[in-house]
């Protein structure tokens, strides 16, 4: 088991899925996953889980090649399809799939059948400690809380010393603090083991919190790959933009280019609202899509002066809605913007529906989307 340092997972997969509807879905990707956490990001239905299923062997691709280092797990041209139990790839499902009739300890020991009693007990003990769930060893999944179940599912997968770890949205439903704590434990574990971890999520926050590398998937294909900044801050596709938390998406027509200023002016949705956005490959008169994050918009109760920001728009608050720890304001500037502000700001500025306000938008907060 030792000696396999820095082994990379490579996968070239084509898999067609037919459903009852006439539309069929094709996953066609080629990815490389090296040591450490790589995030597989995309809206639901983008093909993330199908990709993981193919790597684990639960689903058989129509074509392609999957390998860990030089060890081939699947190769359609050579007719190789290593059965799931022999792949040594750990997979934590979104539903966790803990065995309900076994205790936490028995769940964790499940994959260690090949070891002797003594060794098995040691390994189970060590991993339960590493994930801080040693007190729950005699409990069954039905008696354990969500976050702790997720820890046990991780421990069960990792105790087998896998060569690759696949995580399908394993931390959904947890608050940020618990998520961070589990991820810290996972990172700590992986510093010693150094295996490729493929982490599926559709949550923008998780990408920011975890990401070393991101692979963005859409409609069964890779649309971009790189650092979280590269992939998410310049969204090239509309759907990805929505998934990435760009609450404001507008169709716009290009009015003119100002090369010297590095900007172009666009008119939003055929309204009177004109803003400056970064220069893009779009001729005057052509249609583009503009994405703006609700958290990137400033809101003022008086017309602001002396700003570097180029876009100041006058408008009226349509509604204010409390969403957890923030307030979502909808502001009509002849197009409707969604703006995120803190409850404190709402109080301090005495914001109410119908109030006249100014929105301030930096040029570089406006993203061009294909």
């Amino acid at each position: 088991m030792g000696g396999e340092v820095n082994v990379m997972l490579t996968a070239r997969i084509r898999k067609e899925r037919r459903n009852e509807a006439a539309s069929s879905f094709v996953l066609e990707v080629s990815i490389e996953v090296s040591t450490g956490i790589t995030i597989l990001f995309g809206a639901s239905g983008a093909g993330k889980s199908t990709l993981l299923d193919c790597v684990a062997g639960v689903t058989r691709p129509d074509e392609g090649r999957i390998a860990v280092g030089s060890d081939v797990l699947f190769d359609s041209s050579l007719g190789i399809h290593v059965p799931v139990p022999k792949r040594r790839i750990a997979y934590v499902f979104q539903t966790l799939a803990l065995f309900p009739h076994l205790t936490a300890e028995e769940n964790v020991a499940y994959g260690l059948n090949h070891l002797g009693e003594e060794q098995r007990r040691e390994r189970v003990e060590a991993i339960l400690k590493a994930f801080h769930v040693e007190k729950l060893r005699k409990q069954r999944p039905g008696e354990i809380s969500g976050g702790e179940k997720q820890r046990i599912a991780l421990a069960r997968s990792l105790v087998t010393e896998p060569r690759v770890l696949l995580l399908d949205e394993p931390l959904t439903g947890l608050d940020a603090e618990r998520k961070a704590a589990i991820v810290d434990d996972l990172r700590a574990w992986n510093t010693a083991k150094g295996i490729p971890i493929l982490y599926v999520t559709h949550s923008r926050e998780e990408v920011d919190a975890l990401g070393e590398r991101v692979i963005a998937l859409e409609n069964g294909g890779v649309v971009s790959a790189g650092s979280p900044m590269d992939v998410l801050n310049a969204p090239r596709r509309k759907k990805l933009a929505q998934a990435a938390g760009f609450e404001n998406l507008f169709g716009a027509s290009v009015l003119d280019h100002r090369e010297a200023d590095g900007v172009m002016r666009v008119k939003l949705q055929d309204s009177a609202c004109e803003i400056e956005v970064p220069l893009g490959y779009a001729a005057a008169g052509s249609r583009v899509n503009i994405a703006v994050r609700a958290g990137d918009i400033l809101l003022a109760t008086e017309r602001p002066r002396g700003l570097s920001a180029r876009n100041v728009m006058e408008g009226r608050i349509l509604s204010l809605e409390q969403r957890g720890t923030m307030v979502m304001a909808r502001v009509d500037c002849s197009v409707t913007f969604v703006v995120h502000i803190t409850p404190g700001a709402v109080r301090a500025l005495e914001l109410t529906a119908g109030r006249r306000v100014w929105l301030v938008l930096k040029t570089y907060s406006c993203h061009l989307v294909d």
Binding site: V84, A90, F99, G111, H114, P141
Partner: protein
């Protein structure tokens, strides 16, 4: 009393045999992706709709000295199958087959597929997955299968009459015995036996329903 004892012995043997045969059949029917599997499904369900006399008739023909099964038996053991306890067991196994297989299929299919995937990913082959995951989680179905095939065999009449006849101590089961007594106007004795069967049937069904409400399964979600 001899008849009751014989019925109990027959029902226990049949239930045990059916569990052994029923599990692989149910496993295959639950998990196979073969398109023609509905054919086997109808075959398994056939005894549910066939009149017992029809089933018994064919069983008798097959077991008779000129039937294929009868011939084989004579060649192997030197005596025929019809009107013997063994013949009765064979016919009853056929007759109660769906009562064992159907609950097993339902409970095997009820096991979350993700648990089977999880088991495979953790390195377990299908055999180990069956014993460690599918079987324990299907326990109510297994108990139901055993109890139903026991109860159904206990109460059978037509098949026994066809294949077994009415030989005291060999093939005279409790339902045949009740029939005989009614024919000879021994109503009190018939009533005694009938009450015993009624009580057993009620107990047995209570067990089935209790098990399926998961009264005793400790890991059921609260």
């Amino acid at each position: 009393m001899e008849a009751l004892w014989l019925s109990m012995k027959l029902a226990s043997c049949v239930a045990a045999i059916l569990l052994l045969i029923g599990m692989p059949v149910a496993y295959w029917l639950a998990y196979s992706r073969w398109r023609g599997k509905f054919l086997l499904e109808s075959l398994v369900a056939l005894p549910l709709v066939l009149p017992p006399t029809v089933l018994g008739f064919y069983a008798l023909v097959a077991m008779g000295p000129r039937g294929p099964l009868g011939k084989l038996w004579i060649a192997l053991f030197g005596h025929g199958l019809a009107f013997t306890f063994t013949g009765l067991i064979l016919a009853s196994v056929l007759y109660s087959f769906p009562f064992a297989v159907q609950p097993l299929i339902v409970s095997f299919e009820g096991v979350d597929r993700k648990l089977l995937d999880a088991s495979a990913v953790l390195g377990a082959g299908s055999w180990r997955t069956f014993w460690r995951v599918i079987l324990p989680l299907s326990l109510p179905g297994v108990i139901t299968a055993a109890v139903l095939s026991f109860a159904h065999t206990l109460g059978e009449f037509g098949v026994v009459l066809m294949v077994g006849g009415d030989l005291a101590g060999v093939t005279r089961t409790v339902s045949i015995d009740i029939y005989d007594r009614v024919q000879s106007l021994q109503y009190a004795e018939a009533n005694g036996m009938a009450l015993v069967l009624l009580a057993i049937s009620f107990c047995v069904l209570s067990i089935v329903y209790a098990v399926n409400r998961r009264v005793w399964t400790p890991w059921a979600a609260k």
